[in-house]
């Protein structure tokens, strides 16, 4: 079974989704929850049988699909993708568990199961086209979730989301076709396999163009400034579950793809574009933090803060060294846990009051103490308080980038600290002070279903903040091999210098101790 565990992880939810059409509407919730729990258990099994000492791909599968055109169904998992996969199945499970009263709940759960298939597919695919298949296919369930269960402007938001990402990824597809063609020119056979592409050393001028083509696709997905405009709409209109999965997992596809494709395929171009991308990332951190500060709607605050933190992930990725990339991968996990939890929390209050405007609240800490506590913990985690999950990732990302540029890192560091202000103010507006509105006086506190969804996330946020080693170690191992690969492939002097040679460098060990 372990030989095909990745295929099982991908297609089990899809099969269950198809079978779901036969399930009675009343039993659908239980069905969805059981399927998602099995899937989560399978993903834990994957972690259990994962060999931490191996830096390369594990559980690989290879089935020829269109061999004459070099398209093969290749799957594999390494330390970088492992935890994102676990997180995807965790959030599908928690999302279904905490699903509130929803019209057409059957369609919703079937859609979520299909979405899960595409998410896991993206993070396990090791063939460009298979990756692209899942990447595109993930748009369809999300389009439906936002468009059918969203707010008043849901159709505009969902179509904007779809078209933006679709257009970007088509440019990426052209880039992939070029990659395959260059591989064909070099070796005489077509191949879309990522591991084959890793062996290809391209001249710098080609790298720059291809980097740009892939960048368009990934940057829209992340979303990076100035391509981020679809995200606030999508979050603003999406139902709670849609926002949770979008923020926790779907956005990670972009940052994951940077590490999987852009860096190892185009090391010289990555160095060439390091500063421009870092500047965009810092603009993203500062600008979206300021926008978040100006919001009246608490969901928009969370949405913009989520974009802001994605900027730190990008910054860490483009540090191009082990600390930075490990930090950014870890921050992907942290960001997923924290922003997923925050969206769940916003959903809780929206269900009770049917508004997300902060001025409608105030003094909620008196009425809903448990809610206020969990919200407080998650907010602290979000602003990067030490001993919380985000601190580890943010610290490592900044530490990594510090080796490339002191000034930019300083700027980003200050931006993160200042960024804490808007979260604290939002928290103050909602929870402290007297209860002013009559409607807020008798709000019920968190019920059992909501606690089931939230408590595991709190536990994870604290656990991984205090003791990140079990997650960080496999990540570090795989990142080291990627950085080494980049160093070996780099052709320009500048790139050789900026991308460290791992053998003999112990800096990654010490930095991990600091992070503890």
């Amino acid at each position: 079974m372990l030989d095909h565990i990745l295929s099982i992880l991908i297609f089990f939810p899809a099969l269950a989704g198809v079978m779901g059409f036969m399930i009675n509407k009343e039993s659908m919730r239980a069905y969805g929850l059981s399927v998602a729990s099995i899937e989560f258990a399978l993903s834990l099994l994957l972690w259990y049988s994962f060999d931490n000492s191996v830096s390369g791909m594990q559980f690989m599968e290879n089935i020829p699909l269109i061999p004459s055109f070099g398209i093969n169904y290749i799957l594999g998992v390494d330390g970088i993708s492992l935890f994102i996969i676990i997180m995807a199945s965790l959030f599908t499970m928690l999302g279904i568990a905490s699903l509130t009263e929803t019209p057409n709940v059957k369609n919703m759960i079937i859609t979520l199961l299909f979405l899960q298939m595409t998410m896991i597919g993206v993070f396990t695919a090791l063939d460009g086209i298979i990756f692209y298949v899942f990447w595109e296919l993930s748009l369809v369930p999300m389009l439906y979730i936002i468009g059918a269960w969203g707010g008043p402007m849901r159709i505009y938001a969902s179509v904007k989301f779809f078209l933006y990402t679709f257009a970007g990824s088509l440019v990426m597809l052209v880039g992939m076709l070029f990659m395959a063609y260059f591989y064909y020119q070099a070796t005489g056979t077509w191949s879309f396999a990522i591991l084959d592409w890793y062996r290809l050393i391209l001249p710098e001028s080609f790298q720059l163009w291809l980097f740009a083509a892939f960048f368009v696709g990934f940057a829209i997905k992340v979303p990076m400034f100035p391509f981020h405009t679809w995200l606030p709409y999508a979050h603003g209109q999406a139902p709670t579950i849609g926002s949770v999965i979008l923020a926790a997992v779907l956005l990670k596809m972009g940052t994951y793809a940077f590490i999987r494709f852009s860096l190892p395929l185009f090391p010289d171009a990555s160095v060439y574009f390091m500063y421009p991308v870092a500047v965009i990332a810092i603009i993203m951190i500062i600008y979206t933090a300021m926008v978040a500060y100006a919001q009246k709607d608490v969901k928009q605050v969370v949405a913009y803060s989520s974009v802001s933190h994605m900027g730190v992930i990008i910054l860490g990725t483009f540090a191009l060294n082990v600390e930075g990339i490990s930090g950014s991968v870890f921050l992907m996990i942290g960001h997923g846990i924290v922003s997923g939890a925050l969206f769940l929390l916003v959903g809780v209050i929206y269900d009770r009051r049917h508004t997300k405007i902060m001025s409608e609240f105030g003094g909620l800490a008196h009425v809903m103490p448990k809610y206020a506590t969990i919200f407080g913990i998650m907010m602290m985690a979000s602003v990067g308080m030490p001993l919380m999950i985000n601190f580890v990732g943010e610290f490592l990302s900044l530490l990594g980038f510090y080796q490339q540029s002191h000034m930019l890192t300083l700027l980003a560091g200050i931006a993160i600290i200042v960024g804490a202000i808007y979260m604290l103010i939002a928290y103050k507006k909602m929870f402290f002070g007297e209860v002013t509105k009559e409607e807020n006086k008798n709000l019920p506190d968190l019920n059992k279903r909501e606690l089931i969804g939230l408590v595991p996330l709190v536990v994870i946020a604290i656990w991984l903040g205090v003791y990140p080693k079990p997650v960080l170690e496999p990540i570090n191992k795989s990142v080291e091999s990627i950085v080494q690969l980049m160093h070996n492939k780099a052709t320009t002097e500048d790139a050789k210098m900026r991308i460290p040679n791992i053998s003999g460098v112990v800096i990654s060990k010490t930095s991990m101790k600091e992070a503890h």
């Binding site: 269109i66 004459s68 748009l139 468009g147 078209l163 679709f166 076709l177």
Partner: protein, 505 residues
């Protein structure tokens, strides 16, 4: 004094005519049956047509076997040319026809299917298209084209609505103009080279090194215009949406596939040797045609309020996309053309069939046209299965993986990349993004809007009003082909590439 001409019957190689003659025999048989005993049910004629088409398919398999063994086959005074692309095109024509003709077995009664002449004309048309693709003699191509076109005009007019007459007349007028252009262009080339065989023309032109470029220009421009009409290339496309709107949905779907593949094959024969000779102005003209057709048709499709008209514009855009193959001119591009069209025929016929099974006789007040977008509002709530099937056809047309057309699309874009047309590859990719919008629009109506009250009451009967088992079976074939295309791409690609390569394209 004329000496007697001795030609052995073997040298004529009459077997090359077999696939074309089978539908003609079938058509005549239908007419004879009608003469002997009139008033028979349409199901009889449908089944007879299917049987003859199956025989035709068998004969094609035979030709394919001969081609694989011996290469290109000539016959009947070298007028017939059975090469790989002729066989591939005939496969597409006959297979699509087999899928199309059961769509006549509707629940509601339609005027045209009660006449056996419909089926006879249909088979004549197929024979005509087969002649058209299996020859490089301009005269035979012309005869095949006109046989098929005249039959097709009549088929459209038989739908017996005001709009159908308008459509048929419009199509006829435009078709007549195109025929005039074709004969004029052929005349110029004949005057220039003394031959009506395309390979002879190519040889003569190459031998004198394209000395009379001005005359070549005149001839080729007329031929290009004539095929632009047939392929509905912008700006020669104006008839297409009106004609599609006037014909039944099933017929419109058929017209978006079969006449076009026939025209593509002839265009390939006519223009490929010029492209390979690096005639720059032809490259420029084709480049402009491809880009404008794709983009402009997409823009028009965005603003349509009727699904059938939207699909009409979308099929224009698809034709423009595929025409890129003729511009690129490599073996990979030409294989991509056939691969794309095979996948497109499944998807598009399926999409039009979905419209066909929801055909109403009387329109309710909120619906201005037969298939306006409003009609499909909230379809997921009243008939979820039909909505999901329709959505999959739309996603496939939009090029969302892993559905059928995605594979055609990447192979085509890849051929542009390998052929050195980087900008064209980007234009093609971005056009797919624009096209995404109008396909998604139908999905938005079906999945995200609320159903119209009267549709909830009769629980979505509207969407399957015209359905019978036969129609559902065809849609079943189409949807399975669309979803599981990825399993068939590899053998298909190998087959297509071998055939295209071995016929020298």
């Amino acid at each position: 004094m004329l000496s007697p001409i001795n030609i052995s019957i073997e040298s004529l190689n009459l077997v090359t005519l077999a696939p074309m003659l089978i539908p003609f025999v079938g058509a005549l048989m239908i007419l004879v049956i009608d003469l002997l005993k009139g008033g028979l049910d349409k199901s009889l004629y449908v089944v007879i047509s299917i049987l003859f088409l199956a025989l035709d398919f068998g004969a094609l398999l035979d030709s394919a076997g001969m081609f694989s063994a011996n290469g290109i086959i000539l016959g009947v005074f070298n007028v017939m040319l059975i090469d790989g692309i002729a066989i591939l095109a005939q496969f597409i024509i006959v297979a699509t026809s087999i899928l199309f003709i059961p769509l006549a077995l509707t629940n509601k009664r339609f005027h045209e299917f009660s006449h056996p002449e419909f089926f006879a004309l249909f088979l004549f048309m197929i024979g005509g298209f087969q002649f058209m693709v299996a020859s490089d003699n301009l005269i035979l191509i012309f005869v095949g084209l006109e046989t098929a076109s005249l039959a097709l005009y009549t088929l459209i007019a038989m739908h017996n609505r005001d709009k159908s007459f308008e459509a048929a007349i419009k199509y006829f007028t435009m078709g007549a103009l195109a025929a005039g252009f074709f004969s004029f262009g052929s005349m110029v080339l004949y005057a220039l080279t003394g031959s009506v065989e395309i390979n002879q023309i190519a040889t003569v032109l190459a031998n004198n090194n394209y000395a009379d470029m001005g005359f070549v220009l005149v001839g080729v421009v007329f031929l290009l215009a004539s095929f632009a009409f047939k392929l509905s290339v912008v700006p020669f496309h104006t008839w297409t949406p009106d004609v599609y709107e006037g014909s039944s949905a099933a017929m419109a779907g058929y017209m978006s596939i079969v006449p076009k593949i026939a025209a593509f094959v002839v265009a390939m024969r006519l223009f490929e040797f010029l492209i390979h000779a690096h005639i720059v102005w032809l490259e420029v003209v084709l480049y402009a045609f491809v880009v404008i057709t794709m983009t402009a048709a997409n823009m028009w499709a965005l603003v349509q309020t009727d699904v059938k008209r939207m699909l009409a514009y979308s099929s224009i855009s698809h034709a423009g996309f595929v025409m890129a193959a003729i511009l690129i001119g490599t073996t990979q591009a030409n294989s991509a053309l056939f691969l794309y069209w095979i996948l497109f025929s499944f998807t598009n016929l399926g999409a039009f069939s979905m419209l066909w099974i929801s055909r109403q006789k009387e329109l309710p007040g909120y619906q201005k046209t037969d298939h306006s977008f409003e009609k499909f509002s909230g379809m997921i709530k009243t008939s979820p299965m039909a909505a999901i099937i329709m959505a999959i056809f739309m996603l496939s047309l939009a090029g969302i993986p892993p559905f059928a057309l995605f594979w055609g699309k990447i192979y085509m874009i890849s051929s542009a990349v390998t052929g050195g047309y980087t900008v064209l590859a980007l234009v093609m990719a971005l056009n797919s993004a624009i096209a995404g919008y109008y396909y998604i629009k139908l999905i938005v109506y079906m999945f995200m809007k609320d159903p119209i009250a009267s549709n909830v009451d009769n629980s979505g009967q509207l969407y399957v009003a015209n359905a019978t088992t036969a129609l559902k079976t065809i849609i079943g074939f189409a949807i399975l082909g669309t979803i599981f295309a990825f399993l068939a791409i590899d053998p298909l690609l190998e087959f297509v590439t071998t055939f295209v390569y071995n016929s020298g394209y």
